[in-house]
Subunit: 381 residues, 2 copies
């Protein structure tokens, strides 16, 4: 069987590697060059996107910002999973907030800003600490603005005056404090079966995911249940087929949805070594109508992103349970180059392995790793 | 980095899939068509074998019967691992017996037959129950002849008279009874480090491997040590770099080497799901000079070959711990089409999963599976 993936980055690559043992061929679409390629060796296939769409059994996406004409073509073929509306919900914060609100799923207090004149009302409703987020990928990478105190409001108004807020509104979110960021990743199949992986605990630095630990430490039964309910409500509301990721803020036993990603997700890479079925195989199973796989965790796993860095020792793979996944991309600042999965039998052992791992890594690129290692070591078995 | 594999079957395919996460590209040589291809999608690269040999970092083989001119070219490049002599030792039973005998490694009593007139001496030395094996892949697939009683000797002499025994001698082996067949698979790197996987227990039917269980049941410390010593002696004697498989007959605590395979091996496929590092990644690590990976087993695993059969339900992957590996080949009688790995926490649970698995399989193609399931279920935890 054949699957076409919109997007030809590392997520399509890992889908390819996970699909091959099932006898499933993965073709990827470079949506910029508009070419069909092999996502592993990047060789070009001599076929048009139109032909590929007609030839494959299923079409899916590795990212949500797929040009709408392509999504449209795929949707019309009847082969697109998840469906176009679900993908666009992940690509548009206004749609996302609408889905969350209409399904009574707790998320950050927010208002939609589609005119500079909305700003005063936003401050009145949300307070003076606000994050403004572009609702779509529409401002050439400029996506977020922070208001820390209301004195800076005029400056912000001035900045926003040059944006086409009617076309790409902003979502104004109240800045909240929370204990930690977690994510729940799972799959829903065409019959409505839902199957989640254990919750991952995610550490970010300068807006990028650096480390995930799964299963997350100290997850109460209430939080686990709540997260799974949020996942299921969302997946059902979106009539979702495939792997879906939900990022959450946790404060005590309270969960707020931060954002959703209609795809396999960086915070699920740990499943490659830490779960019976990995998220990539699970996605392929779900979209092709195969039975979902078991998601049980095997030990405890840390996933460490390698960001903008090639100057590490590959000998890190000498550490038992330590596996490298290299994407083969040219290095650029802030670019995700690969990741490392480290599996252990206990959090303590995992922490010790992370300290060992640091001997092979330039710590300036892995600024959160030592602290996380020490935190894990201190956890009672 | 790039690795060229002589042979483009499922072993090269699985090397490709295991190498990609390390940032290693695998190119395969179809030694019949003399083409360089991608072993997963079988697409042809526009390069000659000579160019590939000069371009890659390392050359290896997925089978021992590589045409000698290719091995020669690779050996001369200085990039061939394992070395040519080691590969040829696996391809020639006379060389193999020589290596075993000169290194005092126990194997079946045997004589070399290079003339029909040697047959009487063979019967005298080995008794009337003998297996004659072609020493090399030289008789168009005809490789084995059995003598059950000496009355059939004239018939055999007549058959052998038409063979060019000078060019391709036979190895006459005494037919022995033994308790079971096991194999030990491991790797040796350029520094001489040796690292073995747990012993696998192998069930054959009509000359083909049907089921492997690893770690093998009831392995005494003496047997484990003996198997590892045999492995290390052989790997050192061959100055071996890469993954090597040694098939053994076990009787009580006594081990005899049946044959060696200078490559990744079917009885090591269980490591894909049952060991920290799989044999394919381990081979890539060894030949490229990367650190060897941890070989610790994770639970207990059964590997079931799918032979000459496509009429099974793919829904078998709904069983927790059950994973399919499909090679994507056209079906032929006796052809290995794929395999299934089933991982469990105990032999009993593994046996129960195998019974469950049988619900998805046509039993006439998996004739040993029910018995093996029942045997495993009866094992005390």
């Amino acid at each position: 069987m054949k699957v076409l993936v919109f997007g030809a980055g590392q997520l399509a690559q890992m889908m390819y590697l996970a699909a091959a043992p099932l006898g499933v061929e993965v073709y990827a679409v470079d949506v910029v060059a508009r070419e069909v390629i092999n996502p592993v060796d990047k060789s070009k296939f001599d076929m048009s996107i139109e032909y590929a769409v007609s030839d494959v059994h299923v079409i899916t996406a590795e990212f949500e910002h797929v040009p709408e004409d392509l999504l449209d073509m795929a949707e019309k073929s009847g082969k697109l999973h998840p469906n176009m509306a679900a993908i666009l919900t992940g690509a548009d914060r206004v749609r996302e907030k609408y889905v969350l609100d209409t399904n009574n799923i707790q998320n950050c207090p927010h208002l939609i800003v589609s005119d500079v004149s909305d700003l005063d009302a936003a401050v009145q409703a949300l307070g003076e600490k606000i994050i403004f987020k572009a609702s779509r990928d529409g401002y050439d990478g400029y996506g977020q603005w922070r208001l820390i105190n209301s004195e800076e409001l005029p400056k912000l108004k001035h900045a926003f005056a040059s944006l086409d807020l009617k076309r790409v509104p902003l979502v104004a979110e109240k800045m909240l404090s929370f204990d930690r960021e977690i994510s729940i990743i799972g799959a829903r199949d065409a019959k409505g079966n839902v199957c989640c992986f254990d919750i991952a605990e995610n550490l970010h630095h300068e807006g990028q995911l650096h480390v995930s630990v799964a299963p997350a430490t100290a997850v109460s039964a209430a939080v686990q249940k709540q997260a799974e309910q949020i996942f299921e409500t969302l997946a059902n509301a979106l009539n979702y087929i495939g792997v879906l990721a939900v990022e959450l803020f946790q404060s005590g036993d309270e969960l707020l949805v931060n954002e959703i990603a209609p795809r396999v997700h960086n915070s699920g890479h740990w499943t490659q070594k830490g779960a019976d079925t990995c998220q990539f195989e699970q996605h392929i199973r779900a979209v092709l109508g195969f039975p979902l796989g078991d998601t049980a965790s095997k030990g405890v796993t840390a996933m460490i992103n390698i960001i903008g860095c090639t100057s590490f020792s590959r000998d890190l793979i000498s550490i038992p349970g330590c596996h490298l996944h290299w994407y083969g991309k040219e290095v650029r600042e802030k670019r995700k180059m690969g990741h490392i999965n480290v599996v252990a039998d206990s959090y303590r052992e995992l922490g010790e392995k992370l300290l060992l791992l640091l001997q092979y890594l330039p710590e300036e690129y892995f600024v959160l790793l030592r602290g996380e290692a020490q935190r894990l070591i201190a956890i009672e078995a």
